[in-house]
Subunit: 244 residues, 2 copies
Amino acid sequence: MSENPIPSKYAKTAKESGFLAHIAYDSVIFGFDGTTLKILISGYSNTKLFALPGGFVKENESLDDAVRRGLFDRTGLENIYLEQFHTFGSLERYIPATIEKIMLSNGHLKAGENHWLLERFISVGYYALINFNEVKPKPDELSDSCEWYPINELPPLMLDHHEMVQKALETLRGNINKKLVGANLLPEKFTMKQYQQVYEAILGENIRRTTFQRQILGLEILKRHEKQFLGKSHKAPFLYSFIK
Amino acid sequence: MSENPIPSKYAKTAKESGFLAHIAYDSVIFGFDGTTLKILISGYSNTKLFALPGGFVKENESLDDAVRRGLFDRTGLENIYLEQFHTFGSLERYIPATIEKIMLSNGHLKAGENHWLLERFISVGYYALINFNEVKPKPDELSDSCEWYPINELPPLMLDHHEMVQKALETLRGNINKKLVGANLLPEKFTMKQYQQVYEAILGENIRRTTFQRQILGLEILKRHEKQFLGKSHKAPFLYSFIK
DNA sequence: AATCTATTGTCTCAATTTGTGACAATATTA
DNA sequence: TAATATTGTCACAAATTGAGACAATAGATT
């Protein structure tokens, strides 16, 4: 979430901690498990609060690098596919009591104490596409869990994080034909059916098999490999990979 | 531009001035003069620098409202069509010497003095669509001009403002069929040819007249009115307006 | 008043893309 | 050997788009 990891329990101002005040990011990290589109959610067991993984920008680091750093911390992956989708700056999202609750429960704050994380934040939303099977998510300093949730079965999220997920999903849907979305959500080699399932999971609707296959092959972005034999009692599908 | 209007010459910190530190916005304000797509550019005559109109977010004001406030100050218009397109947070865009030059030349700063505007800013880019003929642009506190420039004849812009314009334009192009762009750039009543010219100006390419007319009419978003007689020696076109 | 010119509104037909179903070609099971 | 589920591909209909033709017409020219 926006108001997430604290580098030091004792830094009371952003400047002391080396971060830019008032600026956060939140990331909607998509993964595809073969059937369902999922996202990573941080949990705070003492508070029963859930949030998107997020963080802050160091004084001498770019916004993009800050997000990459946070994603690396959560997933261990570098070179993650990232897309910025919206920046959230309403007044309604400024609820310091929520952050305070988390920090108190984790011992990062004493009651009544001031802290820069309790100030107002504007948060930049990014979505990431990662290969579901390569990742063992790790919680950050403030949270105690970081787990996959199907996009249709999310827990109640703090602040405006649910709106963030919706906006990320809308953006992803709008980009599905522009940005080779499958290349980041699928393993190196995949069947046409798997690719179709990625589309269906993102769009939330069924796609006609023959039309999909014709269109995708028509783009000439796929290379065909050997067939995949899975022991199923039917014709084995070809495997594909993205060219280049 | 990002580092634009100063509420008081004497506030040395963001907090004293009532603004959120490190956060700015820049606006790409599009207008259509009947032929060309133009945007508003602020000029600083003493420095020969040019920039997008921008500003800062007050502590108790939403990001959107801050942008609306700035647009009202520049144009006198309320209820402007606004769309956020990207947030810029690279390290390269942090060049305090540029801001310092402007502030020194305008007497907003003494040499060697500290000022919160000289700190690093992350800027949220918005584009606006306004009716060109309704507006008499006004400069802000730091600039001494605010004028229309055709998008293909922009002066050299400071920092990453040229990149901002490109990104705004890309976003506008992507939204052209989703968001009823013409409704905000055209007068209440307009001809099909004018509408087509808006499309051509935004897309930067010629459009086939008959196909365009067929498609637009097929959307059933236009109401047809009386014909427009302009004294030209040919058939007079119908006027249209957007339904609702 | 008749003719000419530029532009508009609409239509037609070809070209392309998409929707829909059919069907043969398999891997495995029964 | 036959049955079953799925895949790859084709064929044809339906819809959309490209490209041009053409009549209508407001004013200018004669």
